[in-house]
């Protein structure tokens, strides 16, 4: 008997040595990074994204120019030594506005993502894992929020509470309102995805096994369900960042986001459109920045998905 067991153990060892030596030796994160690295576009996206984040964090302190300072001597100016990206219709420095606008966009994206994680993940997990009344409640709330097409609900909330939030809490209040309004339309998606993934995980054998050996719900969720959801959560929130950045720009463009004179990428585009014929660069620069962020985030998201789930590579 004992001999049999050790022979079996030897066979298992030999098997794992055959196929999986490198994977076993490397640990999950190194393995993950190795898979991510093979996707060159995703790596480029990651580098661009890190550069943009660093610019948003440190840029404002490196640039001495005030983004709201009017320079009537240089209105709609072409790029020069003083204004590397030129100026807008009020003579404000485009580079400075771009860097501050980038900070606004990325801040909003970061907060909305955190709210998605704090609301969507636990609610979706609870709905999928416990089912029953919890599931019905979460699904119903999600259905109602989904009934509002696109950004409509965010537009409604930002429109009605915008002025009061600005009056009471200033720019920060407005920023928080934008964050709240945008997460209103994004957390139900996260909850829905987490719920459906949890539903399939719940039926797997290792959950039954964990139940059988007497593990409690907390342990099962923490040790067995959540790790399986990690890939989905990371991928969804990364891809969600692209949507949030576009949505924030739409709110700003409609006059519902960050209020003038403070810059935001969406507002910079709208402000510059009437002067398109004179100074197309002022539209091009913030537009290109937006497209670059969205593409970089999407590439990183796709790379993460493939790296988390090698089976999904077609």
């Amino acid at each position: 008997m004992a001999a049999n067991v050790s022979a079996l153990a030897d066979r298992l060892d030999a098997d794992s040595l055959d196929g999986l030596t490198t994977s076993e030796a490397m640990g999950p994160w190194r393995l993950f990074w190795r898979r991510f690295r093979t996707n060159k576009i995703a790596v480029v996206g990651l580098v661009v994204l890190i550069l943009l984040i660093l610019t948003a964090i440190f840029g404002p302190s490196l640039i001495a120019t005030n983004p709201n300072k009017l320079d009537y001597a240089a209105i709609n100016a072409k790029p020069s030594a003083v204004h590397p990206f030129g100026t807008d219709n009020l003579g404000r420095d485009t580079l400075a506005r771009l860097v501050y606008g980038l900070r606004v966009s990325l801040t909003v994206a970061a907060y909305v993502t955190v709210l998605d994680l704090l609301l969507g993940v636990p609610l979706g997990l609870a709905a999928g894992y416990f089912g029953g009344k919890v599931d019905i409640a979460v699904t119903r709330v999600g259905d109602v929020l989904f009934a509002f097409p696109g950004l409509l609900l965010a537009i409604l909330v930002a429109a009605i509470f915008g002025q009061a939030m600005t009056d009471r809490f200033g720019g920060i209040g407005r920023l928080m309102l934008v964050v709240g309004a945008l997460s209103l339309v994004s957390w139900p998606m996260m909850a829905r995805l987490v719920r459906s993934q949890t539903l399939t995980i719940r039926e797997r054998d290792f959950i039954t096994a964990a139940n059988a050996i007497g593990a409690g719900n907390t342990t099962i969720v923490r040790r067995h369900v959540f790790p399986q959801l990690l890939g989905l959560i990371v991928t969804t929130s990364t891809l969600g960042i692209a949507a949030v950045i576009v949505n924030e720009a739409v709110l700003s463009l409609l006059g519902l986001g960050i209020q003038p004179p403070d810059p935001s990428l969406g507002k910079m585009i709208t402000d510059a459109i009437p002067y398109l014929e004179m100074n197309g660069l002022q539209v091009l620069i913030p537009s290109a920045t937006l497209v670059i962020i969205v593409l970089a985030v999407s590439f990183v998201g796709d790379g993460l998905r493939d790296a988390f789930d090698p089976g999904s590579i077609s």
Binding site: R140, D143, V144, A147, F148, P149, G150, L151, L152, L153, I155, L156, V157, A159, I160, F161, G162, Q163, A164, V246, A249, V250, L253, L254, G255, L256, G266, I269, T270, A272, I273, L276, E277, G280, V283, L284, S287, L290, V291, V294, L295, S298
Partner: protein, 312 residues
Amino acid sequence: MLAVIVRRLAALPFVLLSVTFLTFIVGYFAPGDPVLTMMGNSRDPQTYANLKHLYGLDLPWYNQYLNYLGGLLHGNLGLSYRYAQRPVNDLLGSGVRVSLQLGLTALIVSLLIGIPVGAFAALRQNSVSDRAMMVPMLALYAVPSFVLIPVLQWLNYRAYSRGWPALPAAGWGSWQHWVMPVIVLAAAGLGFISRMTRANVLEVMKQDYVRTARGKGLPEFAVRFRHILRNALLPVVTVVGPSIAFLVTGAFVVEQLFSIPGIGFLSVQAVQQRDYPVIQGTTVILAVAVVFMNLVTDILYTFLDPRVRVSG
């Protein structure tokens, strides 16, 4: 099939009640006193009470909501806060027509172009023409409308400044005003529909019945049109729902940047004037329209694809 329709219809009141309630309650908690704003510098208590009563704002919230709901059932969206008691219906009426015409045109354009492009690309999978068509489609899907608009306007301006025939930069009236907004609105849906069609056709091409059709010697066009396309196009019906969500958000941006007097433009104007009933009206109209469109889509799909009836 009847059971599916009945079940969907039974869920409808809950969604409609919640959508209207959410819209109402956001307006109910709107900060500031709309009546005081309306009265300007006057502080006459009698006028205040009269106005409060006229708008039904002196009632408790549940009465206000029931009144609002009763109004909605009669197609009445309430009174404007801004324009001396004008009904919201008057203010939004023409806008609804404009937005609807524009949105439907864009939807039809994106279907008419997106389906053939996606199908053609799939039949030539991985060829140069596949890539040449699908890469622009991906770009259309990825580029936000507010980036596409200035690009089009700039191109248009370049054409104009060289004396070539050009379109009006913005505004509403003649057919020329339609061209750029429809292109922009159709773009996002186009990218979505073409990619979905391509994926569906590729999926159907792998099916056994397609091999059987080829095996029994059917001419290639019969295989393609009768067996592949007809089956692949079924799921495209379901994308009409999500496309409308694109169109609604798109309409706000497009109407704003092209100064088109549609429902989105009017409600952004209402935002600036703090005319909340107008914004609520827009929200209710659009949300209810989408709820019904999704219902029609689902029913249509059940009708078109018998397999859904069994599982649904």
